[in-house]
């Protein structure tokens, strides 16, 4: 463990920058060792709670295994994957999941950036109050907020239809949860309301990292507000924005609570997590459900890879290590 531990960070750090090895000083070695002493326990816990279940899920996905028929367990190879990938429900769920991810993240980035600007510029006396107010939705448990939004829009007990019946398309008889479009609208709206504060916090951190001298210099050069935003602020915040988008995209892709509470997948609103839940927990089909979970996991890895490789998100530089 110790030898491995010492080698791992050295290669990881040096590989991309310098191909040739440079002997490390005693101090650097000691620091690396200390780093592993500090991170080691967390590393072991991570392996126990994430790597082990992932391997177990992959193993289970190769079996036909129903929890209430343990004696019928049989090895079926990749058959479960074949069933899942050839089923239109899987692709439809993937489509809905991607739709929710793209829509919510896009809206949240715009809204979150606006809120971050407000928080950044707010007068000192108001700043604390404003930040607290903006953070409230994020502090609410998702299931609770899902129920609140559900009852707000519900046709028998909700008030939205009465308050907004002057809006074209909304009437007393509109059942929001009876069609795909309106159901997804409420699901996305609830998700956006709940997690925009998270993105705005990350963006606020990014905003405060933009050196004020640059902005001041641009002002002296006669740049307008829009120009400063586009040429100075945004380029300097790129890393923060990408990290915020990556975190939220991963989160949004695993959406479960809102859909589970509001429609439970009715009217073609099933998302991948719900499909995995329904297969392994409701139907107790551990094999088939594990296959869906593994595919969901691969999708998440795919999104990470896309961001880190294609958009060059450097997570380390965001933490000030680069």
């Amino acid at each position: 463990m110790t030898t491995e531990a010492q080698r791992a960070p050295t290669t990881a750090v040096q590989a991309p920058a310098k191909p040739r090895k440079v002997p490390k000083s005693d101090r650097a070695k000691a620091e690396a060792r200390l780093g592993w002493y500090l991170a080691g326990p967390a590393f072991v816990v991570m392996i126990a709670v994430t790597v082990y279940p992932i391997i177990q899920a992959f193993f289970d996905s190769l079996y036909r295994y129903r929890l209430t028929a343990p004696s019928d367990k049989a090895f079926v190879g990749l058959h479960n994957y074949q069933v899942v990938l050839s089923d239109s429900l899987f692709w439809q769920s993937l489509g809905v999941t991607l739709f929710i991810t793209v829509v919510t993240v896009a809206v949240e980035v715009v809204l979150g950036f606006g809120l971050a600007l407000v928080m950044h510029r707010a007068v000192k006396t108001l700043r604390g109050l404003l930040r607290t107010a903006i953070l409230v939705p994020y502090g609410i448990i998702t299931v609770v907020s899902a129920f609140a939004w559900f009852y707000m829009f519900d046709i028998t007990s909700g008030f939205i239809n009465h308050w907004f019946d002057w809006v074209p398309g909304i009437s007393e008889n509109l059942n929001w949860f009876a069609q795909q479009g309106t159901s997804l609208f409420v699901i996305c709206a609830s998700e956006i309301w709940k997690t925009t504060p998270f993105i705005s916090l990350l963006l606020l951190a990014g905003l405060s990292q933009v050196p004020t001298e640059l902005d001041e210099a641009a002002v002296v050069d006669g740049a307008t507000w829009g120009q400063r935003l586009r040429r100075v602020t945004l380029p300097n915040m790129k890393a923060a924005i990408m990290v915020a988008v990556l975190f939220r995209a991963l989160d949004a892709f695993r959406i479960f609570d809102n859909v589970f509470i509001m429609t439970n997948g009715a009217n073609k609103t099933t998302v991948l997590s719900l499909l995995a839940y329904r297969t392994s927990i409701v139907r107790l089909e551990i094999g088939l459900g594990s296959a869906i979970s593994v595919l969901l996991f691969l999708c998440v890895i795919g999104i990470c890879w896309l961001f880190i490789k294609l958009f060059n998100v450097d997570l380390a530089s965001q933490r000030g290590e680069g």
């Binding site: 209430t68 028929a69 046709i155 028998t156 429609t263 009715a266 009217n267 927990i281 409701v282 107790l284």
Partner: protein, 433 residues
């Protein structure tokens, strides 16, 4: 200093890890074994019955309740997973009848001793006995039995020229009546178990069965939907959906939403469980419902599909299972016998609105006072048809909900066939659900 802190944190960690384990250990040390009864949420009736039985047991056992999740499907999930892990803390459990075969087949339920079986099946309504039986054997103890009645607003029925209390009505008559009076029919069209309840009652009332051979293994199950009975059921659900007879809330209406519609300005007829009677009385007492609405409510047997053919109303309720991995199965059966005594069943009906499975309990005058429709409920239970009893019930029910929802999409020419193909594919492991 550092050393001491490490030790302290190690001690704390050990405490955090070990303390909950200690809490798990059963038995209070006072000598009497504690039996854990996993109950579905109610108005506290099962907890009170548990207290009464503990007192009657005179120290032989102490019965405690632990409440399961709100809906039947989540209750099944939790019990099935715990039993699959051989959880010995489950001594007794309140089971929704459709899920009994699934738990009985892999041996999760302790077999009922012959003498207990004879005792607990005496004077039990037919529907409840059928719901507690799997492969010809009683596998659960019938506790309370539920059934749906037709509830109607007397004023609306009169305006439509119907009198359900004296002569049975058909679904067609109800549909014509709401069209004529411009009211809403309160039925459960939400994509949930209540939809399966409705479909099953319609198919059974039309003389068919959702499953022809419910006891067969998954690959050999044969569906009876693509039949005249299945098409008749699809015709009723589809018409109500397409012609908007259930109102705009139909695709999301569960039992509670149905009650709200029924109590509203456009309420007319409703099929629902007897809890609505206690709920309406409670609303009147709380002042949220006008007494005139309650006085306008009538009740009758579930509507017929074909005029003149006996209706097969839905059957529900709760039966008691004894966990196969319990350390005290003998005591658990003793407790079960105590729980289902006619006196406890009438108490439960009177206070919680859940009808007894034992016919003797209906003789209690307090019952007829609280539920003037008790005799109709008893008759309905004798005619009631259980939902398909198969270990694959969840697949069948979810498959139906997937293909018969929303109600407006149900077409008698295509839906029975597409649902047959879909459910068969799911049962064969070739489709996701």
């Amino acid at each position: 200093m550092v050393r001491r802190r490490t030790k302290l944190s190690a001690l704390l960690t050990a405490l955090v890890v070990v303390a909950p384990l200690g809490a798990c250990a059963s038995g209070s040390g006072s000598g009497e074994p504690t039996l854990m009864w996993y109950t579905n949420p109610d108005n506290g009736g099962q907890a009170e019955i548990a207290n009464r039985c503990t007192q009657q047991a005179n120290g032989a056992y102490r019965l405690e309740v632990s409440v399961l999740p709100r809906d039947a499907a989540s209750q099944r999930e939790q019990l099935a997973r715990r039993l699959a892990a051989k959880d010995s803390s489950i001594d007794l459990m309140s089971l929704d009848p459709p899920f009994i075969p699934e738990l009985s087949e892999p041996g999760f339920l302790a077999p009922i001793p012959a003498d207990v079986a004879t005792k607990v099946s005496q004077n039990i309504v037919k529907g409840a006995l059928a719901g507690a039986t799997w492969k010809g054997k009683l596998v659960a103890v019938p506790f309370w039995a539920n059934t749906q009645l037709l509830w109607y607003r007397k004023s609306v029925a009169q305006a439509a020229g119907l009198d359900p209390a004296t002569s049975p009505v058909t679904w067609q008559q109800l549909m014509d009546a709401v069209k004529k009076t411009d009211k809403f029919l309160a039925v459960q069209g939400a994509k949930a178990e209540s939809l399966t309840v409705w479909i099953n009652a319609l198919v059974e009332s039309a003389g068919g069965h959702i499953l022809e051979n419910p006891e067969a293994p998954a690959e050999q199950l044969k569906l009876g939907l693509d039949t005249p009975a299945g098409r008749a059921a699809a015709n009723i659900i589809g018409t109500i959906g397409r012609e908007n007879l259930g109102g705009p809330a139909l695709p999301t209406a569960d039992e509670n939403a149905s009650l709200t519609i029924f109590q509203g300005d456009r309420g007319s007829f409703m099929v629902n469980w007897p809890f609505v009677w206690s709920a309406m009385n409670a609303s009147v007492q709380a002042g949220s419902l006008s007494k005139s609405v309650l006085d306008d409510v009538g009740w009758a047997l579930y509507p017929q599909v074909n005029a003149g053919e006996q209706t097969r109303p839905p059957y529900g309720g709760i039966n008691l299972g004894v966990g196969a991995f319990s350390h005290h199965t003998d005591l658990a059966f003793q407790a079960a016998e105590c729980i289902v005594s006619p006196a406890n069943q009438s108490y439960y009906f009177e206070t919680n609105g859940n009808p007894p499975a034992n016919t003797l309990a209906y003789d209690d005058p307090a019952v007829t006072k609280a539920f003037p429709m008790a005799n109709v409920i008893e008759q309905s239970l004798e005619q009631a048809a259980p939902r398909p009893q198969t270990p694959y019930y969840n697949e069948v029910s979810s498959g139906l909900q997937e293909t018969w929802h929303p109600p407006s999409s149900v077409n008698p020419d295509t839906t029975p066939q597409t649902s047959t193909v879909f459910i068969t594919d799911v049962l064969h492991g070739n489709a996701l659900l």
